[in-house]
């Protein structure tokens, strides 16, 4: 594996290797709790908190954790922070907690988090791991916001509860139902795919031109 600079550790998770749209990780919450922007933000922040704290702990304790029990230890660490997030959310923002329901507990099995521990935090120094966790967490939050914004605006005609289009707008109810989650994810990934292909085509065109010039 090519070594990366600290800057790359931070930036790649945000967009170029976005956990949801390009790595296809953490799709369960991205589909299930993005029916409103508020839910998406709460879920994104809770996941960010768990990812950041787990990376910090895994990275600082990596030399004490024997290879044989590393997965169980990581899961234990992640599950602890998820429990904390669950309890704090219920105490501080009970309304949001009610909406998110079981999906808070399901952060434990978000592959994105365990994936970062196994692939990065367990091998790299603490600072780099935190950069990586922050970048990935922001990338996840951005993905949740894109999904949530798209779905709430079309499905309810509101953004964060504010009316956008006036009373004559007929909401596309399907967008806030589960089917709307799949449709939104599909369209956003279509956009990503189109952009990638364009980039490849452009690069090829450039190299063709260069080839002709040199020959």
């Amino acid at each position: 594996m090519r070594t990366t600079t600290p800057k790359e550790d931070f930036t790649r998770g945000i967009w170029r290797e976005n956990p949801v749209f390009l790595q296809m990780l953490g799709l369960c919450p991205a589909l299930a709790v993005t029916n409103t922007v508020e839910n998406a933000i709460a879920m994104g922040l809770a996941t960010f908190f768990v990812l950041f704290c787990s990376s910090l702990l895994v990275s600082s304790c990596k030399s004490f954790i024997p290879h044989e029990v590393r997965i169980s230890t990581y899961i234990l660490i992640i599950a602890t922070f998820v429990t904390l997030a669950d309890m704090v959310l219920e105490a501080v923002v009970p309304e949001v907690h009610k909406e998110l329901g079981a999906f808070i507990a399901l952060i434990v099995v978000n592959c994105m988090i365990l994936g970062r521990q196994e692939a990065f935090a367990s091998k790299k120094p603490v600072g780099r791991s935190l950069l990586d966790a922050t970048g990935t967490g922001i990338g996840f939050l951005i993905a949740m916001l894109m999904m949530g914004g798209f779905r709430e605006v079309l499905g309810m005609g509101t953004f964060l509860g504010f009316e956008l289009f006036g009373p004559s707008y007929e909401p596309w109810v399907v967008m806030i139902l589960p089917a709307g989650g799949f449709l939104t994810l599909g369209f956003i990934m279509l956009g990503f795919g189109y952009y990638e292909q364009r980039k490849i085509a452009k690069a090829k065109e450039m190299s063709d031109v260069e080839g002709r010039v040199t020959s």
Partner: protein, 234 residues
């Protein structure tokens, strides 16, 4: 087994010195320490969050009872213990685990209404609601949905459609009967259901009717005075 021994005999020199594996004790200790620390952390945070969560739930329940009984001067919580209603919970039982009704009183100390909470399955998941009923007239005094995961935009109208909710505050008598909008003949027990949310509307009506059937036997024997006015010391 035999293959292993053969291999060892065949190439005793090539057998690499065994890696200094991690001892079982160390593996066990790692998980034990991690588990103990996790437990400690969770307990510490729980100390801080638990009282807030309980206080919030109690506040929400109080608001709901006050709303569906249309502002009683005071209300008592009566727990169903061994088939009888009692205001005193035996030691060791958690209040939130017990079946209970809430009896509201007027300023004059007369029964204003009884609030009952009940959950049954709706369209998606359990619909949890609380409603108030005046035992003298058998008329409802209010209804509030406490928890529901009904379809957004359709089934969630059981609490977002204020015309539907308002009907329960206008004293419809039990047993309730759901009718299509405009199809009723003005009977006092009719509730206009929501177009597009028939199952959810029916669930609300069914929950209330079932709750009344279950609790009605207790209505007659209720103490007519609030607990505080009976001269009992708690």
């Amino acid at each position: 087994m035999s293959d292993e021994t053969n291999a060892q005999e065949a190439s005793p020199v090539a057998a690499a010195p065994e890696e200094p594996g991690v001892s079982a004790v160390r593996l066990f200790m790692t998980l034990a320490v991690a588990g103990a620390m996790a437990g400690l952390l969770i307990v510490m945070v729980n100390q801080f969050t638990q009282p807030r969560i309980i206080a919030y739930k109690a506040k929400m329940l109080k608001l709901a009872v006050t709303e569906v009984l249309q502002g009683p001067a005071r209300y008592d919580t009566l727990y169903l213990i061994d088939g009888a209603l009692t205001p005193d919970l035996p030691a060791g039982l958690k209040p939130e685990k017990q079946k209970a009704i809430y009896v509201g009183y007027t300023e004059a100390g007369e029964i204003k209404g009884i609030a009952i909470a009940r959950g049954e399955s709706g369209f998606q998941d359990v619909v949890m609601l609380i409603f108030g009923i005046d035992p003298a007239t058998q008329g409802l005094t209010g209804m509030k949905i406490l928890a529901s995961k009904e379809t957004p935009g359709l089934g969630d109208k059981i609490y977002k459609d204020l015309d539907f909710v308002q009907q329960f505050f206008e004293g419809p008598t039990v047993p309730l009967l759901g009718v299509k909008i405009g199809a009723g003949d003005g009977a006092p027990n009719e509730i206009d259901m929501i177009t597009g949310a028939t199952i959810s509307s029916r669930a609300v009506i069914r929950i209330i009717n079932n709750a009344v059937t279950e609790w009605e036997p207790f209505f007659e024997n209720l103490d007519k005075k609030p607990v505080a006015a009976r001269g009992e010391t708690k």
